[in-house]
Symmetry: C2
Subunit: 122 residues, 2 copies
């Protein structure tokens, strides 16, 4: 049985257009043999954000710690530790941290999309 701790210290910077001060770690993914979906741990530092983008696969997101802004198709909501979010495929979305503490979440994705292409970061 694979057990890994979600630890900000073992995340690495996300290098991607439109990203600011975000690190991540794949907790369970393709490299572990996960056949259907992957669990990734994200840390958004104060003032940081994920890209404002869309793609044709969904996210399920669990907020682990802190508070952030979740934007989805033009609607922005403040989300907090304990919240679970569903971002449907093709929705334009972004996560921002306007607080002064780390904002951490799990972001879950299918491991493949579009006829078996690997999902980036899965």
């Amino acid at each position: 049985m694979l057990i890994r701790k979600t630890d900000p210290a073992t995340t690495t910077p996300v290098e991607m257009d439109g990203v600011k001060d975000v690190t991540m770690q794949v907790m369970v993914g393709r490299a572990d043999g996960a056949p259907n979906f992957a669990s990734r741990h994200f840390v958004v530092q104060p003032g940081g954000h994920t890209p404002h983008h869309s793609h044709d696969y969904e996210h399920e997101v669990y907020i682990i710690e802190g508070e952030g802004q979740a934007e989805c198709d033009g609607e922005t909501r403040t989300v907090q530790a304990g919240d679970m979010l569903y971002v449907p495929a093709n929705a334009v979305h972004q996560f921002r941290n306007e607080s002064d503490a780390d904002f951490r979440f799990l972001c879950l994705v299918p491991v493949t999309f579009d006829c078996d292409k690997p999902v980036p970061g899965s």
Copy 2:
């Protein structure tokens, strides 16, 4: 965008052979249109446990709160808030709470298995 709080008060008892003092809520699942995988919130009360069983789909599990025993194919490990687990398909597994406080986790499953049968509780 769907946002739901993981709240023990909105979970309901799991009625299943081999289960003791466990409640759950589907946070994002088939009823929400999730096409690939479902996120479920489980609360295991002190002394409670999930069934000792196996099935031909995997779990990815994130421990939200407390401490419990995770058994998988004969190996038992103590897991705590912040741990992420991977239980492969067909592994015999069980989660037990031997502490005196609630043990809470997210358990993620694919929504279908075995040629498009719906996964129970997805």
